[in-house]
Symmetry: C2
Subunit: 511 residues, 2 copies
């Protein structure tokens, strides 16, 4: 055996000078080698093969692009931006290369694709390889799809959640009551977290909140918060902010809580798919890792929200509560109205403006956002404090907001996270107008979110859509229904072309 | 609306000079644009975005890699090899770019992921977009996975098959009886097609055979045939060969029969997954498109074959027969022994040598391959001619082989396909030996196939594994169990490292 192993190692003797090619391939780690280089010749590497790069004691699995011609010298190996940043080679570093080891756990992913149930240990193996970035996007997509459509049993969701927690950092707090909230999403503009956290922490509660960036929506809470303060805090910085202020709103991925979730989210975003079981595992793994004891889950229900019927919501609540039990976490699901977007803005900066208006107690703040935030804050306050009087809880949290305590607490949290800032406005603003007088009917959340995404959100923080009407409102000809915000002409045109193809995103019942 | 459409079109005015960068990214069509180019700035293109390239009235959807620095000039756009060959721009051609149109049928793929049943029209829509290469690999992987594990109903398999046929060419013959055979695979070396086709066509039958390249195995029939004659024939050339000789063995993809199958096969190969429903649709779509009337399907069953139990085989037979009924094709499934590889070689050229030995009637030809081929030829002969006497059929086909008629027919077919050739031997040959005296037990088909693939098969035609023993045979210490054939030291080492990690691929029960 040792003879065979030595044989395998000798093939790594050939080395190449690493070169940063400046090619940004997104998250994919790509290696570029010349087809006529000794290393490609002797190893028989072919395009899109998975190749392990070894440099200075570090390893990285990459995907190979083969170069014909003189983009590279024959003893040079190019790296994409993601691969270069990950390996961080020093000037003059030479690397050796080998076929990436076969990933044994792919057999387990195939078992899941074939419809078999997996156990704790099998999920652990898969998640460990996932966190080490050993799977290709194609393999991850197959896994996500194989776990969708009700193909994860409740036991599997518990296993998956446990494995996801085990793959990352885990926070422990000295207090017994640690609150958290989560919104299932699907409702553009529903940015209550940024209001609930300062309200409850101004009342002395502990709320170490991690949020995600957008999965399938035009903005995640982390995207919106980032227009107001840094959110890329590591777990130690996060802990420090919480110890000083009682709360935070940071990006879960930088805190390295449930890192497997972040790998899966990237694929779910590409597919625009998130199944029930994966959703529960995703939410609870973050909460368990953050050390939460009491969690409320906001489930907006509406024909174009993520959850479309009360029945779906109930099934999701039941699964979430049962899985949470396995981790000693108390969960209270709250079914809320998901028929129309919340607030005015859809997109990171536009939503941040709505949040600021509520926190500052502005007279023209979006009332629906304010009321949802107060309702959720009151529910969480009552749940964690075993208070049966909901009205009393509502009075307490309303006072925290109206007295300015929540606003000053929000400023403190932003400063502790690295400094507060205020987002600007997008370069292009294009109103979409009513073509005649009428009454606003149904608003298509999904298509409106799509418009915001085509305009550039969440990648472009200032991009998105501002709603200018609400269901039931009367509009005249040329009244704006919504305004598209974009930073480039191309993205504006792209969003407008979609609106032209899909009339009635904001329905107007003409009289 | 027309105003909005015009707005969208004006953004395409910016053009770039197309440049062949010589980067081979496999099947993926990649576009390279500079981050500071006017086009990237104005359109807000980001890495891995799907961008449509417009040049000389042609369009291609590509994936974007963003280039920082001077690999490209700001008014240049680079194309990967696949994108360049597809678009075939003329020197000096300038291209314009737009965000790729949203693929509406992705909503149908998501329906399938969520576990819903799709109808005829929905499969048609998906297959049409698939053949136009509108889906990313990640989206295709999610579709493949969503159709696996028993998640295609029988009605859906019929719909899928019909849609796959509709997406490509279809052959029509003047004769009523057109025979075909298919092997489910999973059994290394089971290369009977190259023997059955010349036998039956030498007997005057019509057998227009298309074969696939390897999906998850070290060699497909098309890969093996290619070491003996050209197989990349278009549908007209294929038709001409069949009209002259009665038969052919060509690569299905070049004949453009069921092209959607070829798109799916690429992903199934990446995942090493092929589900029952997809397998049936894949097989039957090719047969229906080739105009077959009578098909026998060889289903090898064994613990490490593709089909592992008689129960699985029966379910597959039932599904295949029922779906074939919907197309008026008669199918006879045959369950065969799949416990050990067939013949000696595993890998394109090594398997071709086995085939040649059988066709030439060599005394030391692999007897199991000869017997399987004769059995299948006899079954197909009897099935198509409504002959109840199996023994008589066997005598007829054996005579065709032993008389040299099949061999001379094979040579004729090869010449008609473009010229016969004989493959050589690989540069490196490494025996794996028995470590003590004993009796050969079980052979692990899957792992042996994996060794052949690590050695380079089917990409490297001469690479693979030659089995030197059969189950039940007595071996002494240092007797070779199998020999690894490789063209590079790297691939040899890679295959040997796998063998070292997995002892017992050929089990030896030591005495």
């Amino acid at each position: 055996m040792s003879l065979l192993e030595r044989t395998a190692l000798t093939t790594m003797a050939e080395t190449c000078l690493l070169r940063r090619l400046g090619i940004d391939t997104g998250d994919e780690r790509v290696l570029f080698l010349r087809s006529d280089s000794p290393i490609c010749q002797s190893e028989g590497f072919s395009p899109r093969a998975r190749i392990q790069v070894h440099v200075g004691g570090r390893d990285l699995v990459t995907m190979l692009d083969v170069v014909h011609g003189d983009l590279l010298a024959t003893d040079e190996a190019g790296l994409s931006e993601a691969a270069w940043c990950e390996l961080a080679p020093k000037p003059g570093d030479r690397a050796s290369f080998s076929h990436a080891p076969s990933v044994e756990s792919l057999g387990l992913i195939r078992r899941k694709i074939h419809g078999h149930e997996l156990d704790d240990e099998q999920f652990d193996t898969i998640m460990a390889d996932m966190v080490k970035h050993r799977y290709s996007s194609v393999e991850l997509a197959a896994f996500v799809s194989a776990c969708s459509g009700g193909r994860l049993s409740q036991r599997e969701v518990v296993s998956l959640t446990r494995s996801m927690v085990a793959g990352g950092a885990r926070l422990h707090w000295t207090r017994h009551i640690v609150v958290d909230k989560h919104c299932i999403g699907g409702l553009p503009g529903n940015r209550t977290t940024l209001i609930v956290v300062p309200i409850l922490t101004s009342l002395g509660m502990l709320m170490p909140k991690t949020s995600s960036r957008a999965i399938t929506s035009p903005a995640g809470t982390a995207d919106t918060m980032e227009t107001l303060a840094p959110v890329n805090l590591d777990v130690l910085s996060m802990q420090r902010v919480v110890e000083r202020t009682g709360g935070c709103v940071v990006w879960g991925q930088s805190a390295h809580l449930s890192p497997a979730d972040d790998v899966l989210i990237r694929i779910e975003r590409m597919l625009d798919v998130e199944s029930e079981g994966q959703l529960v595992a995703s939410v609870l793994s973050k909460k368990v890792a953050a050390g939460a004891s009491h969690v409320i889950v906001d489930i907006p229900v509406g024909p174009t929200a993520k959850v479309r019927t009360p029945g779906e919501a109930q099934a999701l609540c039941a699964l979430m509560t049962k899985v949470a039990d396995a981790f000693g976490v108390r969960v209270r699901p709250l079914v809320t109205d998901g028929t129309a977007p919340v607030g005015r803005g859809i997109g990171p900066a536009l939503e941040a403006h709505d949040v600021l208006a509520v926190l500052r107690g502005e007279h023209l703040c979006p009332r629906d956002l304010r009321e949802r935030a107060l309702y959720l804050a009151a529910q969480l306050y009552a749940f964690a404090n075993d208070l049966e009087d909901d009205q009393k809880a509502l009075r307490i949290v309303t006072h925290a907001l109206d007295s300015g305590a929540a606003w000053s607490q929000f400023v403190t949290i932003c400063e502790e996270q690295g400094g507060m800032r205020t987002p600007g406005k997008a370069a292009y603003q294009q109103p979409i107008e009513a073509t005649a007088q009428g009454v606003v009917g149904i608003i298509d959340n999904r298509r409106l979110a799509k418009v915001a995404k085509l305009a550039g959100a969440p990648h472009v923080p200032l991009a998105g859509v501002a709603l200018e009407t609400r269901p039931g409102q009367t509009v005249s000809r040329h009244d704006p229904l919504f305004v598209i915000h974009a930073e480039t002409k191309g993205q504006l045109a792209y969003a407008m072309a979609y609106v032209a193809e899909h009339p009635g995103i904001v329905e107007v019942k003409y009289s």
